[in-house]
Symmetry: C2
Subunit: 385 residues, 2 copies
């Protein structure tokens, strides 16, 4: 039994439900951020991230910084691109617009390649774009939290390496790391940014990212200094390297409690083969998507190959609006999220299925959520056509 | 009795020891960052910060953002100054150098006014500097964590308003907010940045700051866009205003657990008159400083008017070095910090006395620390001359 007080199951695409042990780690007594016990915890946490990202290349570099997932965009834009550089942003929803905004803030020229809502840019058009202009880097949202669209990374990275080998491949993995397969080395990725509160299963407050040796070299050969102070690799790189080498180091005070929670969460994740974790997310996702289809509902991501395994974005029946349905689902003990894509925000809901709600056989969150969705729609007068 | 496992008393100048209820709030079950319960908690937290800073001016604006205290420098440098602007940085130790670095990152020209170690720039020289050049803003480290030097804010702000009324008065209050008197309105301050893990008594991971209506207007009349994305007022201002008005809003995911802990901590702080809190910090500081003097030791801050009330930076006897003394103090159950000021780092130690270690009569941290210091020095062969 969970030691947490009874509460509605949080099934939005992050934050997610947390394991008891992770939450208990949040209450860790106070420690010095430069004392040996915490330095060891932080160092181990960084090393475990290498395993989560499936990278064994010692040149790869993990970062864990107090901040939200959004900070990851600044890390990329202020360190891996320089003012005047061109970057190609693949657009699958809300988050590409924001990432592009972030690049522009640092004087980097972002070209967006857009796809219709619920779809993603296709390889031939990406190839065409890469041949038209020299891009310093390309960004792809692995799972777009606003649409539930999953992008395919391996073939994309192969294409970039073939057509424009100097272009760095940067993944926004905020809604994918921990629930979608990511083989950082094998797929030749150069950067992957994420946050603590989604499939990694640790409360919000940490920006987590991994960079390739090639990305770090790109940073080191900058002509201009990084455009941000708090997000500067110059300030953080020695700190991360020192902590992982179990040496105390100071630029800004980390959050020992959040790092302890991340340590606990990563220890749990890595206690089983990652392939099992991805498989149970895939199977659960299939079950949810089948239930949605059985209800006569459509997903934003119409092509099954484009559907995320950690969330489902569901169009509501025409006469039911999210602001009416969601409070009724809450009464049934389940929290889903409303729409985020501006053009259609009230017309769909988002169901997050990541982490312990999926992997812990003692929890029945998913079954309760499917049932709540069925009865909630029925309460609202919906009948399958 | 504390519900925390037995552990050495953390008496460094932040992070500090935390109250049981604050740590328990860190384990709060997962909530949606845009759900009504958390929106209420966040909104109340922002409103309580107004009381902590003693501001009733509705134009004042609190910010709470996932990040470390360092992020506060970016907030100031990227929003309140523009590239090419001159700013005056009063230097009392390590942190002014870093703040100046941060300004330079955003193209802002930082002029440092330095004082000898253990002292602070004096009003006549500040007046002279303000008359020589037009500064967009002036920064002062209220308590310099590297030296324990306390700056006097009220007279300083009066001087700035008299000599250079358009110059914004910005306080780095990372090591002062919650243990040193700050009257934001009365002293006509324009900005005060701090962090959660010091005298506010909440685990690290939150950048906390307050700005005057005048500062917000300065931001709003910028000619250039803010130089940072994650630290942009443009992105955060509507979010903070919405949360305080109890309206859900999204730019980046806040950390509900840290916000709950901050809410608990602020509720505790505001349950008594602030004047009592500052007085008990002053009295405890006096007691510690007397014990230090009785031991025949000197402080970095030689003038008692320049001595912080939440920490004491203590020169060690000539033949005792911090890296030898500190491990012995740890064995006695007390964690002090080593020196941070590069020129003299091994020659002094820092004793933090903020928050529950000072205010909770059930704790004996301070007595144990004084005793440990006495016996630790004696163990090292020190005898008072």
């Amino acid at each position: 039994m969970s030691s947490q007080p009874s509460h509605p199951a949080l099934l939005i695409p992050g934050p997610i439900e947390f394991d008891d042990a992770v939450l208990q780690s949040m209450s860790h007594y106070s420690e010095s951020h430069v004392g040996a016990p915490f330095v060891a915890t932080f160092g181990e946490t960084l090393s475990m991230l290498r395993k989560l990202f499936q990278t064994t290349d010692p040149a790869s570099q993990p970062f864990v910084i107090s901040g939200s997932g959004t900070l990851g965009w600044d890390l990329v834009a202020a360190n891996l691109a320089e003012p005047g550089d061109d970057v190609l942003v693949l657009h699958t929803g809300y988050f590409a617009d924001s990432f592009a905004d972030c690049f522009e803030t640092y004087g980097v020229k972002a070209t967006q390649l857009k796809a219709p809502i619920g779809s993603r840019p296709q390889l031939p058009e990406i190839e065409k774009a890469l041949k038209e202009k020299k891009y310093k880097l390309l960004t792809v949202t692995h799972v777009d939290t606003s649409t539930g669209v999953l992008s395919e990374l391996n073939a994309l990275s192969e294409l970039v390496h073939k057509v424009s080998p100097e272009t760095l491949v940067i993944v926004d993995g905020v809604c994918s790391v921990g629930c979608e397969e990511i083989e950082f080395d094998k797929w030749q990725l150069d950067g992957c940014i994420t946050a603590s509160q989604k499939a990694i299963g640790c409360p919000a407050g940490l920006s987590i990212s991994m960079y390739s040796g090639r990305a770090i070299k790109t940073f080191q050969s900058r002509k201009s200094p990084p455009g941000s102070y708090f997000a500067s690799f110059k300030n953080w790189l020695p700190i991360m390297q020192n902590y992982e080498a179990k040496k105390a180091s100071y630029f800004a005070t980390p959050s020992p409690q959040l790092i302890h929670a991340l340590h606990t969460s990563l220890t749990q994740i890595l206690s089983k083969p990652l392939s099992e974790r991805f498989e149970v997310h895939r199977q659960t996702s299939q079950r949810i998507k089948k239930a949605v289809t059985d209800l006569g509902l459509r997903q934003l991501a119409s092509d099954s190959a484009d559907q995320a395994n950690g969330m489902t974005a569901i169009y509501l029946p025409q006469d039911i609006k999210a602001p009416e349905l969601l409070p009724n689902l809450l009464k049934k003990g389940v929290i889903f999220a409303g729409g985020l894509h501006k053009e259609i925000a009230t017309k769909y809901i988002r169901f997050g299925h990541m982490g312990v709600s999926v992997t812990d056989p003692k929890r029945d969150d998913i079954d309760r959520a499917i049932k709540a969705l069925e009865t909630g729609l029925s309460d609202a007068g919906y009948q399958k056509a």
